[in-house]
Amino acid sequence: MSCEDNKIKITALIDGELDAGEQNRLRRHLEKCPACAAEKLAQSRLRKIVRKNFIPPEPPPDKWNGFNQAILNRVAPTPLARVSQLRVRWATPLALAASLAIVFGVLYFALFRVEPQIPVDGNQSLAVVSTEQASQLPVKVAVSTPHPSVSRFCEVLSTNYLKPGYETRDFPTENGKMVIIMNKAEEKKNLENKN
């Protein structure tokens, strides 16, 4: 290794960054090479001078006034602003979630909630049918609803929720009215079988 290479290694030696093997090799070289030994002395001296005498630049005394706050304002808005941002950020998803909840709620009650028959008082627009009753009718699902207007309920159901091929029909019962959702094809088939 040339003296120029060794001089660079001397930098690492005085910084304590050489492994033991390299240190020993370099120390042996330094014992024999006055130029490299002088280089080591000069570098050590300079390193000490810098360490001891470097004066870090200091900001003007008032420089830190408001410094932290300016950063904090940029990384995290004030609570009021946060609420405002939250409102903007979540308004659409919340509205969407609420709409979906309503839709699924209506669908659930409209399509899947088949309860045992219970007495129905005169104020209820629709009767509640049992699963057994529903299965005896030419229907897919029988529903109950507290909707005040049966015809309006059927209209909403048909317009918004029913797949093609299905329709609603309401029947008077002894307890009020019953809405059924009918599969036209199945109904037709059932009628043919009966005939």
Partner: protein, 214 residues
């Protein structure tokens, strides 16, 4: 001041602050800024050489730290990570401002007459004895006249006390490159300080030093 810069940060306390910052705790981040802003300012200033730019760069660095602290895994020391962000921003800033000594090229040495013409810039001449403050000013002037890459390596090693591995991480270079930049940076400094060393004006300070490795 060197002692202040080298002050150890309580790592447990720091870990807690970082953990809280990851949970977007503003109070914890406030403390973290307080802890590092002086040291970080010195580093930024040594690159941009301008108070306003140094503060701007520092602000941007802290904002980036907060935004990305979730990705800090703790594999390195926090301030090494901070310095890496700061270093990149400061170099970019200096380049935008077309600072004359911004190149990260090791060989962008300044003209020799400029590097040795310290006395012409109001610095004490070797014939006067240097007190501590004068020596500090002289040293800062000399440091400002060596290439950025070498100056940064020297400051990170000799002032901040970072290891070669940490300096390599901050500057995104190989450890071998750190070693050569330190070598040539110190060599340039030594050449500029040589008249003062020959006159023996720095020898007393030298003898007072301690804590060297070798």
């Amino acid at each position: 001041m060197g002692v202040v810069l080298m002050a150890k940060i309580d790592t447990n306390e720091e870990s807690q602050l970082i953990f809280r910052c990851k949970n977007k705790d503003r109070e914890a981040f406030d403390q973290l800024i307080e802890k590092y802003r002086d040291r970080a300012y010195a580093m930024a200033y040594s690159i941009v050489h301008n108070n306003e730019d140094a503060v701007d760069v520092l602000q941007e660095a802290f904002i980036k730290v907060f935004e990305n602290i979730g990705s800090f895994k703790g594999d390195s020391r926090f301030y090494t990570w901070l310095y890496r962000i700061l270093f990149n921003l400061a170099v970019d800033c200096a380049r935008r401002k077309k600072n004359t000594n911004v190149s990260l090229d090791d060989e962008d040495a300044l003209p020799s007459e400029q590097t040795l013409d310290i006395a012409a810039h109001g610095t004490p001449t070797p014939s006067d004895e240097l007190d501590r403050r004068e020596l500090g000013e002289l040293l800062n002037q000399c440091l400002s006249r060596i290439p950025l890459a070498q100056r940064t390596a020297v400051l990170l090693c000799d002032v901040e006390g970072l290891s070669y591995a940490e300096i390599a991480e901050v500057m995104q270079i190989a450890e071998g490159t750190v070693m050569s930049r330190l070598h040539y940076g110190r060599q340039r400094l030594a050449a500029m300080l040589e008249p003062y060393l020959q006159e023996g004006k720095i020898s007393q300070v030298e003898n007072e030093s301690n804590g060297q490795t070798e």
